[in-house]
């Protein structure tokens, strides 16, 4: 288009013809280079979700790469738009029609080829990053496509319930807590499930997000890389207090974690909590917990949580 318009305004005799295409390209290259350097050196280190875990590092890298790819495209559009406004705007007394537009094979091929390369590159990069070990979405799901190697994997069960997450540590006697505490530099397998409705476990700074579905063991992996605090939120609308369903976790040193976990296990064992909890399982079905059934049958109870309400109970008044 630029060439068509340039051709419509031929240079006067002795005057060198302006190469608008070259001008635009030079402006674009300089601006795009500046933008990408700013993104890489200034923005990238501060992009969410940070670098607290291996997953977070990958997610941050992915966002940076996408920003690096998108910035030149966006800047090309802005550059062309700005150049057009300055050079080819309507001027007083110029009421002629613009020059007719004709096809330009080179521009069309460049446009189609360039966009195809960008889209295919984003597809390949995104797919690889999604499934690569410790990548942005590594191994997540009820049937993980990838599992961390090594034998020191820490198992943590995340149990959603309106409106609180609790965390169970099967390697510490099935101890359960309301606060998520993890050791640094040790791979963690989150087994996410729910006791009632659908929740979603989102440890923001750890870059871990997994749906908590009743009856489903949803698995997600990560390795905390730095000590510090992080936020856990429910990211699935789950009832009136969904917005209040959050808590704060901690990543601590391995030695401190051992002390914390063993102390909690010992306390809960002494108080009889471990004995009161059901055997560790990947999912729980409250409708078939035998202890609940015995209680109800033994006492002739007709009202209880969930399944045990008889059909004759009143519905919404």
């Amino acid at each position: 288009m630029a060439e068509s318009q340039a051709a419509a305004a031929p240079a006067a005799p002795g005057e060198k013809e302006t190469n608008h295409g070259l001008r635009i390209a030079l402006i674009w290259v300089v601006l795009a280079l500046v933008a990408d350097l700013l993104i890489w050196f200034l923005w990238y280190p501060h992009l969410p979700p940070g670098r607290m875990s291996e997953s977070a590092e990958h997610q941050q890298f992915d966002i940076a790469v996408l920003a690096l790819a998108a910035a030149p495209v966006m800047i090309f559009v802005w550059t062309y738009f700005g150049y057009t406004l300055v050079n080819w705007r309507h001027r007083d007394g110029d009421d002629d029609d613009g020059p007719p537009l004709f096809g330009h094979t080179g521009i069309q091929a460049t446009w189609i080829g360039g966009t195809a390369v960008i889209v295919l590159a984003a597809f390949v990069f995104g797919t690889v990053e999604l499934i690569v070990p410790a990548g942005a979405g590594a191994g997540e799901g009820p049937n993980p496509v990838w599992k961390p190697s090594g034998s020191n994997l820490l198992q943590v069960q995340v149990i959603g319930q309106q409106w609180q997450f609790t965390y169970r540590y099967p390697q510490f006697g099935g101890m359960e807590t309301t606060q998520l505490v993890l050791p640094v530099n040790r791979p963690v397998a989150f087994h996410v499930t729910s006791l009632d409705v659908i929740h979603s476990f989102w440890a923001y700074q750890l870059a871990v997000k997994a749906d908590a579905n009743p009856g489903v063991d949803n698995v997600a992996y990560t390795t905390p890389k730095h000590t510090g605090g992080f936020t856990v939120r429910c990211s699935e609308l789950c009832g009136i207090w969904h917005g209040a369903m959050f808590d704060y976790g901690r990543v601590i040193t391995p030695a401190a974690f051992q002390v914390w976990a063993k102390t909690n296990e010992q306390i809960q064992r002494q108080k009889g909590v471990l004995a009161a909890l059901p055997p560790y399982a990947l999912t729980y079905d409250p409708t078939v917990i035998p202890q609940m059934g015995k209680v109800l049958i033994a006492n002739g109870i007709t009202g209880a949580g969930g399944y045990y309400y008889p059909s004759s109970d009143p519905v919404t008044p």
């Binding site: 319930q161 309106q162 009632d196 009832g239 207090w241 209680v295 949580g305």
Partner: protein, 238 residues
């Protein structure tokens, strides 16, 4: 019909519609629960708060759901609300009277008393008001699955406060359980525990963790999701 009559009719009809809309907004959307204020009842950094949980609510025209009540510190009257105000940085001596029957917790982890001073509570059973069944007993766990002994829980998650509330002795409850709320007689438990309010003011939501919404999907609807029943707010004031 003459023109003036038609205009008058139109205006009257319009006014009726507007009045109806205003009534709906004021009566339903504008209605609010009473907030029981305990700040003036605090003394020496301590305040005593008394709640009761009942198997039903027949004290108002609202749904007949299992419900908490809050005692007014001045009049000692029971108020059908779950909103109360306490001062900041104050020791709350909480007393909860459990009139509702037992319900096993879905997650038996809630059997553990957490966040109270000493991480424990005291539980005493009553045949009716003023007639205890045995002495008060201190406990840090009340297993909701081992026997039929817990009706609901009182929890303020943001303060890491979780307390299982004992249900009345089952045999007594099945025979003489309270059917008229707010309950002033009948078998009940008395659970006592203490905790400190935060040093900062704010709103702290509290709830029951036992799905007790009878007739709703998995027991999670109705009273579990409605202010004034099995969830509420503790306002911490200056």
């Amino acid at each position: 019909m003459s023109l003036p009559a038609r205009i008058v009719t139109l205006l009257v009809a319009f006014a009726a519609v507007v009045a109806g809309a205003v009534f709906i907004v004021v009566h339903y959307l504008g209605s609010s629960l009473e907030v029981v204020n305990y700040t003036s009842a605090a003394s020496g950094g301590v305040v005593n708060v008394v709640l009761q949980e009942d198997p039903q609510n027949n004290s108002s025209s609202k749904p007949d759901w299992v419900s908490y009540y809050v005692q007014d510190p001045k009049t000692k009257a029971w108020v059908h609300t779950t909103l109360f105000t306490v001062p900041k940085n104050t020791r709350v001596n909480m007393t909860i009277l459990g009139y509702d029957g037992c319900t096993p917790a879905r997650n038996n982890f809630w059997s553990l008393v957490q966040g109270t001073i000493g991480n424990s509570m005291t539980v005493q059973q009553f045949k009716t008001v003023g007639q205890p069944v045995g002495p008060a007993q201190r406990a840090s766990v009340r297993n909701t699955w081992s026997d039929c002994s817990v009706g609901h829980t009182f929890a303020i998650p943001s303060l890491h406060l979780y307390v299982p509330i004992a249900s009345p002795v089952t045999a007594l409850f099945n025979k003489d359980g309270c059917t008229d709320s707010p309950c002033t007689e009948g078998p009940h438990s008395m659970v006592k525990f203490s905790f400190m309010t935060p040093k900062n003011t704010g709103t702290f939501r509290w709830q029951c963790f036992i799905p007790c919404g009878g007739g709703f999907l998995d027991g999670n609807g109705g009273p579990m999701q409605t202010l004034g029943y099995m969830m509420g707010n503790m306002e911490v004031a200056a």
